[in-house]
Every structure is written in C-alpha cells, then in structure tokens.
Symmetry: C2
Subunit: 158 residues, 2 copies
DNA sequence: TATTGTTATACTCTATAACTATA
DNA sequence: TATAGTTATAGAGTATAACAATA
C-alpha cells in the first residue's frame, strides 16, 4: 500500500503492449462477440468448429473431427450428442469400419451453416475488421496463418 | 489444418479460412507456447497477466486487478493466494480503505518479471514472429490493438 | 446501504481410465 | 492386440450468493 514504486523505464516491453497479449485480447473479443450473437441458438464456438470441419471435409469419424480440432474423443461424444440432438449432424455408420461413426451434416445442418452461421461470421467480421482496408485484411490473414500454423508440426487446437 | 485439399471456393467463406478462426488459432498457439515454456514455474498465462498489470499500474486492490483482466473478485482470491504463496506479490493494507488490500509486487516478483517472464515473452515472440519484418510486426500490432479494444465500451477480458 | 474480501457451492469444459464392440 | 465410441469420474477454472468487516 504505502510502497512508493520507482518507475524504471523497462527495457522489456510492458505486457499490455506485447503482441501475445493483444493477440489474446483480439481472439477473446472475436469469440465473445460470436457467441453472444449465437446465444439464441445456444451454440458455442466449438460447435461451429465441428460444423465447419464437416462442411470442409465431408463425413468424418468422431475421433477424426476431434483430432482436427484438438479435442479428445471422449469430449467429442458430448459435442456430437448436442449437435445430433439439434438435428444438425447425423451419426451414420461407416461401412468399412463398423466401430466408427460417419458423422455428416444433415440438410438442416447445411442450411444452418448457409443461412445463419456464415452470415453471422460475415457480420462479426464486418463489425471487427470492417474499418480495415482490403489490403490490411489480407495482410492480417497472412500473418495470422503464419502464427496459427507452427512449423514445429504441432496440432492445431481450439 | 487439413492436408492438401483443393476445393472450389464456396460463396460462403470456409470457417478454416476466416480471420476469426485464424485469430483463435494464433492466440491459442501463443498461449500454449508460453505456458509450455513456463511449465517449470507452474505459472499460467493468467498469473502473468496479474503480474503485468501490477507492474504497469503499481499497487491495486484485488477487485481492481480483476476488473482490468475481466476476472471475478472471488476468482482473484485464489489467484492472489497462489502468487502470494510464491512470494511474488504481497497483500499490503490500503490505509485509505481498510476493506481493501493493496496488492503489490514484491522484490522477488519484480525480479521474476525482469529475469524470467519478460525474456521468455521476448523469446516466444521471436519464435513466432521472428520471421516477420519490422513493418509486418508494427502492422500486426496496430491491427490487433484495434480488434482488442472494442469501440462498444466493453471490458477487456482474458 | 454499499463495497472488499472471503467462503461455499455449482456449473462448464475437459481429460484419463476402464468398458464394449469391433478390427 | 489395437482401435472407435462410450461411460464414469476427476480436475481445472470460473461464477453466483451469502457473510464479515468496513465505508
């Protein structure tokens, strides 16, 4: 309390000014806005991730979806339970390996992506980076892609 | 994240290509590397946040630290317990308001920031964005600062 | 009456380990 | 033996509500 601190102009950068800190703040902000906008649908960022992976890759096993998102297979069970309960994905059987499901988007799931999630993403993007020039956006995306895909061969996680 | 997919660009952007997704991936990657590097000290990103806030602002109440990081005051109790247990911060009393603590960095806390955390941050930064030009870094920081400080007057959260 | 720190409690998210049915 | 999905369970991390001391 009474301690009078010195103000040593630090050679090391203040945390609040570091790229890492800003990055976290920006990511949190984006996710927060996104989930707030999705609140009516009670979906999480994570669920969007699953739908997006399926949209890009077609039918996948639960484990494979989890692998791509950095989520354990036991966790995937609950996630798919919810999405299946909402009719957005279906648990088909993989004929080649009857241990595994072939998770696929339902027609409703595809429609949800098309009519709700993608427009919502575009909206949140517009809110956040609408002020940036197309050049800035391209620049940002290029840099983020570098940061998000580590050279060390590590898995991408949510 | 995928392999070598080469698909027709859909009208709606693929999730994996969206700025929001990349942003999350990049932030996760940064935090992950940071915590891995800090593992020996068993500190979390969040703890670094507290120390950083204290370094920047001097002595603060628990509640005020929490407010600045978007953490509830009941959660702050545990965080400060840990940091105090490690001798990195001290619970002084605020003479002006005896309900509140005046949390401050100890000498050890300052030394830890100076000798460990800041160099570590610099190292992780170098790993991640070392390949970027100074211009790119400045650009990135400028954009991130925009994203991280919402105009809508919302609180910054960890 | 309002506020700081505290405690008890509960809820969410996640992973680990054991089980089942296949392979 | 090994693997996909499941289940039970445990551990973080966090928040809400009630309480004591102080404002």
């Amino acid at each position: 309390m009474g301690g009078t601190r010195r103000e040593p102009a630090p050679a090391a950068p203040l945390l609040a000014e570091s790229t890492a800190w800003l990055l976290n703040g920006a990511a949190r902000e984006v996710t927060l806005r996104f989930e707030r906008a999705l609140r009516g649908d009670e979906l999480r960022w994570r669920d969007y991730g699953v739908l997006g992976v399926l949209e890009a890759a077609g039918s996948l096993s639960q484990q494979e979806i989890g692998r791509r998102l950095g989520v354990d297979r036991s966790t995937m069970v609950h996630i798919i339970d919810v999405l299946e309960g909402r009719g957005l994905v279906a648990r088909g059987r993989d004929r080649a390996d009857r241990r595994a499901y072939a998770i696929e988007l339902t027609e409703a799931g595809r429609a949800f992506l098309r009519d709700t999630l993608h427009p919502l993403t575009a909206e949140v993007h517009e809110e956040l980076i609408g002020g940036l020039s197309a050049e800035d956006r391209a620049h940002l995306d290029r840099i983020l892609a570098l940061l998000a895909s580590p050279g060390a061969g590590e898995e991408r996680t949510m």
